[in-house]
């Protein structure tokens, strides 16, 4: 409870300081929206010409796009502390984290909150809702629950990626940009059905970096596409666990990394 109330207090402070630059916030909000609108507009252009992609219609792909977009934007919003952790390490701010009587993971997690990602979330949500109205999905309580768990799990997955990037800062500040392949690149490739990728690509992004579990497998279940587009029923039902598991593993990695922190200027 202490942690929860502390977290909301931190978030409140962050939001307030971001609102101080209101005009910039509004500009930025629309910049976010315009970038992501064009993003989906391009997918729509392709469908306008080609009509379908490996048996998926535009709005089915929109469903995929919306899901992964929401997860990533949420992860960027809440997991910002890990995303920009490199800066903190360079400045030596992590010393401060270590002298406080709170967990390091919790502190870095609650240190930032990027409100302006609301624009991206809104855009992804709109695409998702339109997709819903365009394809007939027989929603049931199970499906709604499954969807919500999937979204949280997907957010956890992306936060986990940020955590890996942040943890590698304990050793080096040079090569963490490789994580962009999985974050930005992940959103890009996750916007299309996985069946279009080659087997080795697919397997890598299912079992090693479980990107497919964020939206593809859940979408197979929700759109009742299991079988026609690959995936086994049990695998698909278990898919939402992957994000939680992934985050858990990265948290262990974080814990181990903290022990290797060398501080600056000894």
């Amino acid at each position: 409870m202490h942690h929860l109330s502390l977290y909301f207090h931190f978030v409140k402070l962050r939001i307030r300081s971001q609102m101080e630059y209101r005009l910039s916030f509004v500009f930025d909000f629309f910049a976010q929206v315009s970038i992501s609108v064009i993003d989906f507009f391009m997918i729509a252009l392709l469908f306008n010409r080609f009509k379908e992609l490996a048996g998926w219609s535009l709005w089915e792909v929109g469903f995929l796009y919306g899901m992964i977009g929401i997860c990533f934007a949420l992860a960027e919003m809440v997991g910002r502390g890990f995303d920009v952790f490199q800066r903190h390490i360079v400045r030596g701010d992590f010393d401060t984290v270590l002298i406080r009587p709170l967990g390091t993971f919790f502190q870095v997690f609650s240190h930032e909150f990027l409100l302006r990602r609301l624009g991206r979330i809104a855009q992804a949500l709109v695409v998702f809702l339109i997709a819903n109205s365009q394809i007939t999905i027989s929603w049931s309580l199970t499906k709604v629950g499954y969807l919500l768990i999937s979204l949280v799990s997907g957010t956890c997955f992306f936060v986990g990626l940020f955590v890996i990037g942040a943890t590698s800062c304990f050793w080096t500040v040079q090569s963490i940009e490789i994580i962009n392949i999985f974050t930005n690149g992940g959103v890009f490739m996750g916007s299309y059905p996985f069946s279009i990728y080659r087997w080795w690509f697919r397997h890598f992004f299912t079992f090693i970096v479980p990107l497919a579990c964020v939206n593809y497998f859940p979408a197979l279940f929700l759109l009742e596409k299991i079988g026609s587009s690959g995936g086994s029923p049990i695998g698909v039902l278990l898919a939402p666990c992957a994000g939680f598991l992934f985050l858990g593993i990265t948290m262990l990695f974080w814990r181990w990394g903290v022990l290797h922190y060398q501080s600056t200027g000894h």
């Binding site: 010393d95 270590l98 002298i99 967990g103 022990l259 000894h266």
Partner: protein, 341 residues
């Protein structure tokens, strides 16, 4: 209160290979050399002590403090603070210590001081009564009320330091670690912070471990000093003992009426001679100053005579600069340059 036993810390410093293929190879394996930052240091600090932890830049002061506060994990040896092992029981330890780094603020940069303090109240779960009492007291002693509503980033260095020290004491820690608390401050601000530390130490029995470059800090605050150099402990004891140890040797400067050919005196060594001016080194334990002067007056005519006690600042400085150990310093003659002042 604080027990440090055989504590060591080594760092790996990576060597970056040059050239295109070199940087490629750096991705997979990197050559490194080991730097010993702290080398088997042991000491204990009792409750209520103020200890000056001194040494030149890069001697390992900050590394030691960082191990005591749980920021760094020791390579070997053991540390306990209040009975906690800082790097293993970091959170527990953190509740009972206060830390101030002169070079860097631990407060929230964009928040007013008041909100930073309120955040700390939440983080350390400080009861409202205790919080109010402390804030009032710190306002009285450090006038933090003058800038309580100001964002930390707008504070002057002196104000920031006052805020930081107050913040470190809000939760009534048993031990306060101060790393260069007066660095860059003017004389008035320094005096104020010293007074405050003294008061807190006297009234609350807060143990204080202080690293500093400013020997005024040491003279005003510390009964006890620990000297380290090159990662190793060189001296640990009362400041008075250090002074006595160092002042076992005194300098007697004599200007004789004329340049005598032989001016040697039993139980004193000539360390410098130029014309009629001679300087002797002697130990007050072997011969009293009065006896020595008496012996000189018996033999020669003098114009002027004076006794110098080597001052601590000078001596510690030479210890650092020459990289000499204290023991060696004590057995070697003092160079003429140092006695000139």
């Amino acid at each position: 209160m604080i027990e440090v036993d055989n504590l060591s810390k080594t760092f790996k410093v990576y060597h970056h290979r040059k050239g295109f293929f070199g940087s490629f190879a750096n991705l997979f394996s990197r050559k490194h050399r080991i730097v010993q930052a702290v080398d088997s240091i042991s000491f204990t600090v009792e409750r209520g002590e103020i200890v000056g932890y001194l040494g030149p830049n890069g001697a390992g002061k900050s590394t030691t403090i960082k191990m005591l506060t749980g920021i760094l994990v020791p390579t070997s040896g053991s540390v306990t603070v209040n009975g906690y092992i800082p790097h293993r029981q970091r959170k527990e330890n953190a509740k009972h210590i206060g830390v101030v780094f002169g070079q860097r603020s631990h407060l929230w940069f964009d928040l007013p001081v008041r909100e930073s303090f309120e955040l700390l109240q939440r983080i350390y779960r400080i009861p409202e009564v205790q919080y109010r009492y402390n804030v009032e007291m710190f306002d009285e002693l450090l006038s933090i009320g003058d800038f309580f509503q100001t964002p930390v980033r707008q504070l002057s260095l002196g104000q920031r330091m006052r805020a930081d020290i107050a913040a470190a004491l809000l939760h009534d820690p048993d031990v306060l670690f101060l790393d260069e608390p007066t660095i860059g401050l003017d004389v008035v601000a320094k005096a104020r912070i010293r007074q405050f530390i003294q008061k807190i130490n006297a009234e609350r029995q807060v143990t204080v471990v202080l690293t500093t470059h400013d020997l005024d800090d040491v003279e005003k605050l510390c009964k006890r000093v620990i000297l380290i150099d090159n990662a190793r402990l060189r001296f640990d004891g009362e400041l008075a003992t250090l002074r006595r140890l160092l002042s076992t040797e005194r300098i007697l400067s004599v200007d004789y009426a004329e340049a005598y050919p032989d001016v040697s005196i039993p139980s004193a060594h000539i360390v410098y001679q130029e014309g009629a001016r001679v300087q002797y080194r002697f130990s007050p334990e072997e011969v009293s100053t009065a006896d020595l002067i008496g012996a000189i007056l018996q033999k020669f005519k003098i114009v002027d005579i004076s006794v110098q006690e080597p001052d601590i600042e000078e001596l510690i400085k030479t210890v650092y600069e020459d990289n000499l150990t204290l023991e060696r310093k004590l057995t070697e003659p003092i160079s003429p340059n140092t006695q000139a002042n």
